[in-house]
């Protein structure tokens, strides 16, 4: 399909790779790919770090642990549409957080990222991190609980401080949890559609377009099936990049299970 000149209706005029050339030249596609890269990197890094910190802190035998856990995880149960709308309201420049800052006296404060083309993608990152870091926390916490307490004790006997133990000894032991969380989040990044529809609808202008949304728009609203198919294929290629990251993980998993089998 991506090799034909299809527009509103599919046809079979073979045009080779021309749709792909059009796609690469399409400014909107370029914006959406750059956005995806930016969003993906920031979102993955931020949620993994925040999720890990939360899990590590909760693991320190704090009070009200289960309460905190449910608080951190509840956003994950909600629809992207719901959280997108909620954050759009919070970030609304006239009535949202900006107004709050003005009211408490910070009249010079600006928090209008939602309507600034160069900043809007960061609001999507913020929203997505809010949604997903609870999940990372749950996965990491399961990993942390699986680690032998003796390791902590041994490190303490050796005079290693708690946070050094955490970063240099325990975190490497959680490779599996990190990989799981990474794979889950990475696939959700490529699929991301609802969130950008609800929060910004690609705007202002095309500043927060994402490939998944690009495909849908061209497929249904703009009647350009050939280009959409090319975009979908391109998105899959990007996914293949993710898959290349996944492959070592699978390798590592099988190796681990084989080792477990030998032990």
């Amino acid at each position: 399909m991506s090799l034909t000149a299809s527009r509103m209706l599919p046809n079979n005029n073979f045009v080779g790779l021309r749709q792909y050339a059009t796609l690469i030249d399409n400014g909107r596609w370029q914006v959406s790919v750059v956005n995806l890269a930016l969003f993906g990197v920031l979102f993955l890094a931020a949620s993994l770090v925040l999720g890990f910190i939360l899990a590590a802190l909760i693991d320190q035998r704090v009070r009200a642990e289960s309460l905190l856990r449910s608080v951190f995880l509840y956003p994950f149960s909600m629809s992207f549409i719901v959280i997108g709308l909620a954050w759009r309201w919070l970030l609304d420049p006239t009535l949202g957080i900006e107004k709050l800052l003005h009211d408490i006296g910070l009249t010079g404060a600006h928090f209008d990222w939602l309507i600034r083309p160069d900043r809007v993608i960061f609001t999507l990152v913020l929203t997505a991190v809010w949604h997903a870091s609870g999940l990372v926390m749950a996965i990491m916490l399961a990993g942390l609980r699986g680690i032998d307490r003796e390791i902590w004790n041994a490190a303490r006997v050796d005079g290693i401080s708690t946070w050094r133990t955490l970063v240099f000894i325990v975190a490497p032991m959680l490779r599996g949890s990190f990989a799981t969380a990474f794979v889950l989040l990475a696939t959700s990044v490529v699929r991301l559609y609802d969130l950008s529809v609800a929060t910004t609808n690609g705007g202002p202008g095309i500043a927060s377009e994402l490939p998944a949304k690009f495909v849908m728009d061209y497929l249904f609203d703009r009647g350009n099936i050939g280009l959409a198919a090319a975009a979908a294929a391109a998105a899959t290629t990007m996914l293949a990049t993710v898959a290349m990251v996944v492959a070592p993980w699978f390798y590592w998993q099988t190796r681990r299970s084989r080792q477990a089998g030998m032990a």
């Binding site: 399909m1 939360l54 802190l57 320190q60 035998r61 704090v62 905190l68 856990r69 449910s70 608080v71 951190f72 995880l73 509840y74 956003p75 994950f76 149960s77 909600m78 629809s79 992207f80 549409i81 719901v82 959280i83 709308l85 909620a86 954050w87 309201w89 919070l90 009535l95 949202g96 957080i97 107004k99 709050l100 809010w130 749950a138 996965i139 399961a142 708690t162 946070w163 599996g176 799981t180 969380a181 794979v183 889950l184 696939t187 490529v190 699929r191 559609y193 609802d194 529809v197 609800a198 609808n201 495909v215 849908m216 497929l219 249904f220 959409a228 979908a232 998105a235 899959t236 996914l239």
Partner: protein, 295 residues
């Protein structure tokens, strides 16, 4: 009884700086996570003048349920003004058959894959895993064409089928892992006793799969309820699920934006998954972990 295993009573207080930091950081992050929900809640209870004049965080002066009533029965989605309740019932109509179908199919596939060495089982499993990681956008157009040809496009049946198809990888994985942990001898003994494919499944395996079925159900109910993309594409105008209607309401309100109605509608949509989450608690986490860790 726990006293023998774990020391009871308070731990000796060691209030180090680290501990203080810990107790400062956790509540702050909890606030970060709770604020949007709180703001949604209070906004939906306010009147419009109050929203415009007051702070976004302030408590509503009077508990005003007008916005909720309007959201559920009067808010406009483009042409009709029946509120979000039609979306709610559409979602329920989509949800029930989809969840039932996907779990049933997933259970049978998982059972077949783990006990019956069918030809091509490994290939099928690998294909399912690949599909699980692909973006939906790749499949949507071929599926739309296929459904239109089969005459089930834009119908309830269509969306149920789609949810079943897209739920298949995860469901199969869940059930396969569950069945794979059961002893093979159980299966062999049943075969020696002369039970067939369906008899083993229905009388032996299914009763043992109740816990995993609960996990699968939680996972599917939340997933399908929260779906937007598939609901938008496959349901046609009459069966739009709640999430799509919600987006339409917010996007199409003409003239003055009624933030309180928007937020009330948002809350209504979020209510079902939130209830499931808070009721199921640990099961929910287990579901995510089971679906994820073994993927």
């Amino acid at each position: 009884m726990n006293a023998t295993v774990q020391p009871s009573g308070r731990r000796p207080a060691r209030l180090t700086t680290g501990r203080i930091g810990l107790y400062a950081f956790l509540p702050i992050s909890a606030l970060f996570f709770l604020t949007p929900l709180y703001v949604m809640m209070v906004t939906s209870l306010k009147t419009m003048p109050e929203i415009r004049s007051g702070s976004i965080l302030s408590w509503p002066s009077a508990h005003n349920l007008d916005a909720w009533v309007r959201a559920s029965s009067q808010a406009c989605t483009g042409l009709s003004c029946n509120g979000i309740q039609t979306g709610f019932w559409n979602s329920v109509r989509i949800l029930v058959p989809s969840v039932a179908a996907s779990i049933a199919v997933g259970a049978v596939t998982g059972y077949t894959l783990s006990f019956w060495r069918a030809r091509g089982a490994k290939t099928l499993f690998a294909a399912l895993m690949i599909v699980a990681f692909m973006p939906y956008q790749v499949f949507i157009y071929p599926l739309v064409r296929l459904f239109a040809m089969a005459g089930v496009g834009n119908s309830l049946l269509g969306i149920v089928l789609v949810h079943t198809i897209f739920g298949l990888p995860t469901m199969t994985l869940l059930f396969r892992n569950h069945f794979a942990a059961l002893p093979m001898e159980l299966f062999k003994a049943a075969r020696v006793d002369g039970a067939g494919f369906w008899r083993i499944f229905l009388q032996i395996m299914l009763p043992m799969a109740v816990p995993i079925a609960v996990v699968a159900m939680i996972l599917q109910v939340t997933g399908i309820w929260n779906d937007f993309l598939l609901g938008l594409v496959f349901t046609g105008c009459r069966n739009l699920p709640m999430t799509v209607q919600l987006n339409n309401i917010v996007a199409s309100s003409q003239g003055e934006r009624l933030y309180n109605v928007d937020m009330a509608a948002t809350m209504l949509t979020a209510l079902v998954p939130l209830c499931i989450y808070f009721i199921s608690g640990r099961w929910f986490v287990r579901g995510i972990a089971a679906g994820a860790v073994k993927g």
